[in-house]
Structures are given as C-alpha cells and as structure tokens.
Symmetry: C2
Subunit: 349 residues, 2 copies
C-alpha cells in the first residue's frame, strides 16, 4: 500500500493524502476526515525511509552506550528513551560493548574506544540522526569524538574534553560530602575510605567531598586512612585491612567494595552496624543482599537519563541550554550498617 494507491481509494491526489498525514492545515475537514477514515480501515503506514529522504529532519536520536552490561547503563537508557519517545522522537541504540572487547587495563585507552566509535558514528550519520546521546560506562574525559563531528551531542556518565559537549553527570563531590557529613553526625571522626581506581574521576571527586566535610567539621584529613581499591569486591576485601588503623567507620566508594569489607568482618567475627560502621555507594542492590542492610548513596540514574533527554531535545531544536554541565545529586539511603559511634569521647568531666 502506497500513498498513490491510498489516494486512488480516497478519490484524491497523493499530495493531499500526504498533507493530511503530515498535519498540514491546507485541507478541508471533509476530505481530511474521509482520508483519515480510510487510512484507519486499510491500516496504511507510510514508508519511513521514503519520507526521510525528502525531509531534512529524521526525528531520530541515536543513543550510544559504552556498555549495556554495565549496571548503570540500562536505567539511564530506559529513562532516556522514555522521555525522548514521549516527545515524538525515535531512538536508535548502538552498544559499543567496551567491557567485553577490551581488557581491563585498556578501558581508558581512547584510541581503542575511538576505533569502536568511528563506525557507529558513520552509521548514525548515514541514518541522519538529529542528535546523539553518549552514555558512558564510567565518568571519563572523552577524547574519542573526531574533530569533524558536528551532530548535536550530549554526553552522560562521561565528561567532554573542554567545553565541547553538554554533559550530565553524578554530583560525586556532593555525594562524598553528604556521606561523610552523615558519618560525622553519627559521631565518627576516624573514617576509613576505600576509593575506586585512583585515576578515576568518581574517586577523585568523592574524595574531594570527604575532605571538604572533614574540613568543615574541623577534622584533620589523614592520608593514612585512605586505601585504594579498584571497584571490585576483592579489592574491598584487601583494603579491609584499614580496620586495623583504629577507624570507627569505613566508607567504601561502591557497594561491591563494601561487600568485600563485610567479608573481612565476617572472618573476624565482627558485625557492621554493631562493632563498626560501614557505608557504601551506588545502592546497586537495594537492601536485598548485604546483612545487615547497607547504608549507601543511590546513583541518580533515572534523573540523569531524564536530564540528558531534555538537553538533547533542546540542542536538536537549536535552543540554548541554561548551562553546559549538569551534576545530578545522589540520594542517601540510611539503613542498618552505620550506627552511632560508641567510642565517642564524652565531654571531659
């Protein structure tokens, strides 16, 4: 079924049918209704490709994910597509699968990622997407877009080199600050920290927040209390040795590493929230698995998707964004693993 055939059925010209289908108002109500009725009856649907040749805008937004299997990605994509599609745009998802295609020590090798990105960009270019949202697997300074890339682009869970793209990210510093403030409010002053990989922006920013909170509370920052992990449970287990430094609380920068701390406690016959306080980050699993349930800071994945959607739609329409970099706040989840510090010195008699 084509416009031509449909037009014949309606007793009008193809042009008129096209006008009706595209919501033009240069058609009489009578013919419009008649055409619409017949469209309904015949279940006619325009050929998307044919119309896209002639039209300048495709109403398609391309979504590029670094890795769909990274746990942070699906919620972002979900919110993103929901919002974009609710505005009448379509989405096309391209997954780079960097985690399965790269060895761990290559995750930051821009030239590798660039190699994966290139064909995908070509693809998106040839389907003439109106805009692109790039969803990172972890916050990294992106240098992977070629210089001649001109399609409107928003990056999320990643930062663009310089001011090139609009970016939407986690407010990591505030997250670290909130968590530390909370631990301090529970009477903790010697707070051990297990960071993620040291060169990682999440680690750096969260630690910045930790320092800021300590500083505000008049507590001297002690580098001895910082252990570097690599986000895995195993590294949290190893870093758990920080226990021996007389800390009353340990904050691991993700829940996986906190789970490693739980293992150490188990081995020593200790309990989080009773003998020592333990906090995580991400809220990867709600309160389901760790016992006692873990106090953590929830990543704002849905909100990041929503904000990114707004921004790319603005960009596509040629509107100016109010700012170029957005930091979305996390949400503290107070559970059982952090309790008041019983070792707090009372005010001297």
């Amino acid at each position: 079924m084509t416009v031509k055939e449909l037009a014949k059925l309606c007793g009008v010209s193809p042009g008129t049918v096209s006008n009706v289908l595209n919501g033009k108002n240069n058609v009489s109500d009578a013919t419009r209704n008649n055409i619409l009725k017949i469209v309904e009856e015949t279940d006619y649907h325009p050929n998307y490709f044919a119309s896209s040749i002639r039209k300048k805008e495709t109403q398609i937004i391309g979504i590029i994910t670094e890795d769909l299997n990274q746990f942070t990605t699906p919620p972002v994509v979900d919110a993103l597509t929901e919002r974009i599609e609710s505005k009448g745009y379509h989405t096309v998802l391209m997954n780079m699968r960097i985690y399965s295609r790269l060895k761990q020590n290559e995750w930051n090798r821009s030239e590798k990622i660039s190699g994966f990105l290139q064909p995908i960009l070509r693809e998106l270019q040839s389907i003439k997407v109106d805009g692109i949202v790039y969803v990172g697997a972890h916050d990294r300074e992106l240098t992977v877009f070629p210089d001649n890339h001109t399609i409107p682009t928003v990056v999320t869970y990643a930062t663009s080199k310089g001011d090139r793209f609009i970016s939407v990210n986690i407010a990591d510093e505030d997250g670290g600050y909130d968590m530390t403030k909370y631990l301090m409010s529970m009477g903790h002053t010697r707070i051990g920290v297990i960071t993620g990989a040291g060169n990682n922006r999440h680690s750096i920013n969260r630690l910045q927040g930790y320092k800021k909170a300590l500083n505000e509370g008049g507590i001297r920052f002690d580098p001895e209390l910082i252990e570097e992990g690599d986000w895995t449970m195993e590294s949290g287990y190893v870093a758990g040795k920080i226990l021996d430094k007389g800390v009353t609380a340990i904050w691991a920068m993700n829940d996986d590493m906190a789970a490693g701390v739980y293992r150490v406690l188990e081995e020593r016959g200790l309990k989080a929230g009773k003998d020592i306080s333990v906090a995580g980050f991400d809220d990867r699993f709600g309160n389901r698995y760790l016992i006692p349930s873990i106090t953590t800071d929830e990543l704002p994945l849905t909100e990041m998707g929503i904000k990114s959607a707004e921004m790319i739609l603005k960009a596509v329409r040629g509107e100016q964004p109010e700012q170029r970099h957005f930091l979305i706040p996390c949400k503290m989840k107070i559970r059982e693993s952090v309790t008041e510090n019983k070792q707090t010195r009372r005010s001297p008699a």
Copy 2:
C-alpha cells in the same frame, strides 16, 4: 555529497559507483580501485534511507524487549546484537518498559502488553525490518502478536502460543533436576523448596525437575516441603519458615529469595553451609554479596542471545531451523552454601 557528485568526481556514471559500493563484480579492477580511493578521500557515505527504498531487504533486525531493566535482559541483548551485527545486519532496539508501566498484578495481562506492542510493531513494520527478536522479561506464553503479523520472528525468554514462533528458552526442568541431584548427592533427602509465583512457567518447570530427581532417587515427593514465593527477597524471608519442617537443605528458585532465607538464618543465629544447606538459582550476582557465597545455577543468558541470533538470521534468509523450540542448559555454580548433610543416617549397624 551524493552518488551523482561522486560519480562526476570519479569520471564514471552513478550506476557504476553504486555497483562498486555494493560489492558487485561487474566492474573492472581499475575503475573499482579508483572509485574506492576517492570514496575514502571524500569520506562519502551513502544515504541509508535512499538505498532502503529501492532495496527489498533492509538488513535490519528489530529487537523488542519487554523490559530493559529486568536483569536478565541486557546480557541477552548484548549477545544478540553482537552476533547479528557480526553478520552484517543492523539492529534497532525497542523497549516496552512493562515493569514501570504496569502494576505487578498486571504483568500477565496480555491485552495490556498487546497495547504496548502494537505501536512498536507498526514502527518496525514501517522501517521494514527483515526480522524481529522478542526478548521477554520472564517466560510467559505469548498471545500478544496480532494475527496478521507476518515478519519472521523469534521469541526468547518467552514461549509462543502454539507453534507460531521459534522460541529459545531456559532449560528450567533440567536446572531443577541438576540442582536437586546435586543436593541429593550431598546427602540431603528432605529438601525444602521455595518456588516463584505459582502460575509461572519457570516455577512449574523447575519443580518438575525437582520431582523427577527425587523420583529417580527413590525419595517420595512431599508437598509439605514446598512453599510458594513471588521471586522477591521478602517472599523468601517469609517462606523461610519452611526451616521448621525438619529440612536439611532449602532450594530457593532464585537468588533473591535465597537472600531472604539468609536473613532468617541470621535472625536465628544459623549459618548457611554449616547448620543447613541453602541453594539459589540465576547466579544473579556471582559470589559477591551473600556470605557465605551461594551455590546456585547460572542462567544461560549469553547463550540464549547467541541462539536467538542464529535463528532469526536463518529465518530471515528463508532457511528452515532444525527445530522450533530450544532449551538452553544452565550451569551449576558450586560454592559454599551447600555442604554435606551431617544428619544423614549411617547405614544401620
């Protein structure tokens, strides 16, 4: 840049350029190389839409997910896209988001899902996908495809009503059988089971495997030892009362419910793998969170994606599949939570 302009640059006709670009072998090596060189230099890319009007096949496979946020979905999609794209096809992902759009008691309401599916099918139809892979959020008998649906379709993590579509699923019965056999091999004879929702095919089939294994071992099936859960940790916690029926092992049909059992044990001062054996299903989290680490049965998500990809490509090419329904086996993960039954009666003196 269009073929026309490019052809002029190359000093040949548009048709010849097209032939080169499409790998036809009716062009001399000399002109081919020349054209290819200039294509490279000018970074020319054909307009996807224009070529798709004329071509009968689009080389696009549509992937429809019931819910991308269901933990089983991304691995399937990942493997699926990898395979499909490695064969020179493209993929377009459409996500129905049924979990956020439906209340829990509506998850099996076919007419609701049908309502979400309809516009997506229209969309895929209008971009003329060569085939469709439908990725369910849990195994369900699908009645949601309209009668006039003729595009080659494979369903995975779902079963088609009757013999309509090729399907790729988990070998749930074998999974239940293997797990029960393993528990029996560790000396357990009174094995409590916490099922998922009772009307669910996963529950039914896994229980079937349990019964089969018991039967082979000469153990009478005791309905008293079966508790119905609903896949959530909370329901596993409630069903944990099965402890009081003198079981030496509990098998929860997913890891979330097993986590609920861990909570019950914690409250009672018991330990999985020491005082009682506990097994799960899914291997949702590897050995990271539950302590002691849980013995479970890993879902074959990647393999399901691979098989589905093979099948849809076969279907698209008009080849006959060797069978219409595939069951992919799970992989037992032996960890710490199941140990030998110390209460086993020795052979009578």
